[in-house]
């Protein structure tokens, strides 16, 4: 037998994902901003225990006029700071759940199409293309309008329109892996389809999926805000988009009413995009090993 070899060329194990993430400035800024938004949302019931839709002060107070309302009040005398913190809960929740819906559909369809190929792929990809031909925002708008605006219908509508891009991405990645030696080697050792997909394919397409998921959350927040701006939000909860929409009427005189929730939207969307960018670099295993 040949002598035992030592691993002299051993390279260090790749650092953990978190360690790799915090080495990237965009990810750090994104994480910090997202932490701020999520923190505001988490703290909302403690800071502003009442219903943020309650009229609790004089209308249209500018920020700083009354220390009780640091961001001022809108034309109905509702606390803008309370609206923004409670709105963060709603926006993040809708973004996360809608993305989850899109992930389940998109990954399922993409993985099925990529792995099985042939007719299965043809059928699934035609379906995907059908969804892609409809402008996503109009589609969302139509679903919400038909089903009555409420949080579940909004989540469903955003999830239903968000998956086609994801499905295409997953299909392309799965196709690449399916024809690669990794999967062939698993077939040879007798692994079942479910085992190959679950243990080898999906974990290896996880990186691009995680990256696009963070962008999907950002898009969902934007879509929800747009719906609310147009008056198609859930009327029973406060929403950033709804606040911007309401502030529109007084934008010439009291611009802060629209600007404050607008900035919140920008912060959340920017945070998620920066995070996605950072994740993209950090999850690139090959680059991490170099």
């Amino acid at each position: 037998m040949t002598g035992t070899l030592t691993i002299s060329a051993a390279r260090p194990r790749p650092a953990g994902l978190v360690a790799r993430l915090i080495r990237r400035p965009s990810a750090v800024v994104g994480l910090a901003l997202l932490g701020l938004v999520a923190g505001a949302g988490l703290a909302a019931p403690v800071l502003y225990p009442g219903d943020p839709l309650d009229m609790i002060g004089a209308p249209l107070q500018w920020p700083g006029m009354d220390p009780a309302f640091p961001l001022g009040t809108d034309m109905l005398g509702r606390d803008i700071a309370a609206g923004i913190t409670h709105g963060a809960r709603i926006s993040l929740m809708i973004g996360a759940v809608a993305t989850l819906v899109a992930l389940v559909i998109g990954v399922g369809i993409g993985a099925g199409a990529g792995y099985y190929g042939g007719r299965v792929e043809a059928a699934l990809m035609r379906l995907t293309e059908l969804f892609q031909t409809i402008p996503p925002f109009l589609f969302t708008l139509a679903i919400v309008a038909v089903l009555q605006p409420s949080i579940p219908t909004i989540v469903l509508a955003i999830g239903l329109t968000g998956w086609p891009g994801l499905a295409r991405l997953v299909r392309a990645e799965v196709l690449r892996l399916r024809d690669g030696e990794l999967v062939q080697a698993s077939i040879v050792i007798g692994a079942s389809d479910a085992r190959i997909i679950g243990l080898h394919i999906l974990p290896n397409v996880l990186a691009p999926v995680v990256v696009s998921a963070s962008i999907l959350v950002a898009n969902a927040i934007l879509t929800e805000s747009s719906l609310a701006f147009l008056g198609l939000g859930d009327p029973n909860v406060v929403s950033w988009g709804g606040m911007v929409g309401a502030g529109r009427e007084v934008i010439r005189t009291d611009w802060f009413v629209a600007a404050a929730p607008g900035l919140a939207i920008v912060a959340a969307v920017l945070a998620l995009n920066l995070l996605g960018d950072g994740l993209n670099d950090a999850l690139d295993l090959k680059r991490a090993l170099r």
Partner: protein, 342 residues
């Protein structure tokens, strides 16, 4: 092999060539003080395994090192120092006095230009000739690299040609301005064995006709035996042995060369004969041992081998050199009888 065209004067002389890379803050040496020379009309093979620095050396000769690499020492082409030449001066030399062909011919060809146009451009880049003259010369070059039906091939795009044909086109381009030195970096590694034989025979014939010198970079000892006059064996960035190709195979001196020759599957050996293994692997660039780089894998290494890198003194004739403290003490490698002739 080609005594009839040798002049005795070296066209290319390399002395104490060092190549290093800047990586983060550190400087990592990849080639440590390499020296060799090539005469007109001869083929020098630089042999070694991946990572030994042979390709870097080739790139350094043509001033094609990547941006984070630095070369020092001396490279003289036809008596002129060329190491460190930049921009226009180096470009004028490349293609006219020194040319290179690569492992993958497609990297040297432009996919959207016909092969004729590319060779014409290579000629007119360096010489003021009319388009018609350049075309005539291109056709004769294509014929010289034995591309059948040059008139028709002139207008073809690279992707329409087989790998062997593409490599012929690259050779034609390299020869366009009759260089004094042709550097061939693993020119046939990507090709089938029958095609490989033809390409190397072609390079041999062209060398004999034009008297150019050839530096053949390869990992394949079989090629060396057939196509080189002299050989330089590299290991971990250093020359370990130099000498005539015939002598190297008949009596390799350095333990690494011996092992390399013995590790090859040998034709005509008995069924199920074991190969001679070289235990372990090449030390990574960051962890070079202080002494002879081969010492950790060498069966003959002793304490002094592990202290300082051995020099490369002449042994026998001036051109035969071996960087080993112990080569004289080693017994002749056992050569089991081989079948000669096919």
């Amino acid at each position: 092999m080609s005594a009839e065209t040798r002049t005795g004067a070296p066209v290319l002389e390399v002395d104490d060539l060092r190549i290093s890379f800047r990586e983060r803050a550190a400087e990592r040496a990849a080639v440590h003080g390499l020296g060799f020379s090539v005469e007109a009309g001869e083929t020098l093979a630089i042999v070694g395994e991946s990572g030994c620095g042979k390709s870097l050396t080739a790139f350094a000769l043509l001033g094609l090192l990547p941006g984070n690499a630095r070369a020092s020492g001396r490279v003289r082409l036809e008596g002129r120092d060329i190491l460190g030449l930049e921009g226009e001066a180096m470009r004028r030399l490349r293609g006219t006095r020194i040319a290179m062909i690569f492992q993958e011919p497609m990297t040297a060809l432009n996919p959207v230009l016909t092969i004729g146009a590319q060779i014409v451009e290579a000629i007119r880049e360096h010489e003021a000739v009319s388009a018609a003259d350049a075309r005539t010369r291109t056709l004769s070059l294509l014929a010289r690299v034995r591309i059948p039906d040059p008139e028709r091939r002139f207008g073809e795009y690279p992707h329409r040609l087989s790998g062997g044909m593409r490599q012929r086109v690259v050779i034609a381009m390299a020869l366009a301005c009759a260089p004094a030195v042709l550097v061939a970096d693993e020119p046939t590694t990507a090709l089938d064995v029958t095609v490989q034989a033809e390409i190397l025979d072609l390079i041999d014939d062209l060398r004999r006709e034009t008297g150019m010198a050839v530096v053949l970079i390869t990992h394949d000892l079989g090629l060396v035996a057939e196509h080189a006059d002299r050989v330089l064996v590299m290991y971990a960035g250093r020359a370990v042995e130099a000498g005539s190709a015939a002598a190297l195979f008949a009596a390799p001196r350095h333990p690494y060369t011996r092992a390399l020759v013995a590790a090859r599957p040998r034709p005509g050996s008995a069924l199920r004969q074991r190969l001679v293994e070289i235990p372990g692997q090449v030390p990574p660039p960051g962890a070079m041992p202080p002494g002879c780089a081969f010492a950790p894998r060498c069966p003959a290494a002793e304490a002094p081998c592990r202290e300082t890198p051995p020099p490369l003194p002449s042994v026998g004739t001036a051109a035969e050199r071996v960087a080993c403290l112990r080569w004289k003490d080693l017994r002749a490698p056992d050569q089991s009888p081989v079948r000669l002739g096919a």
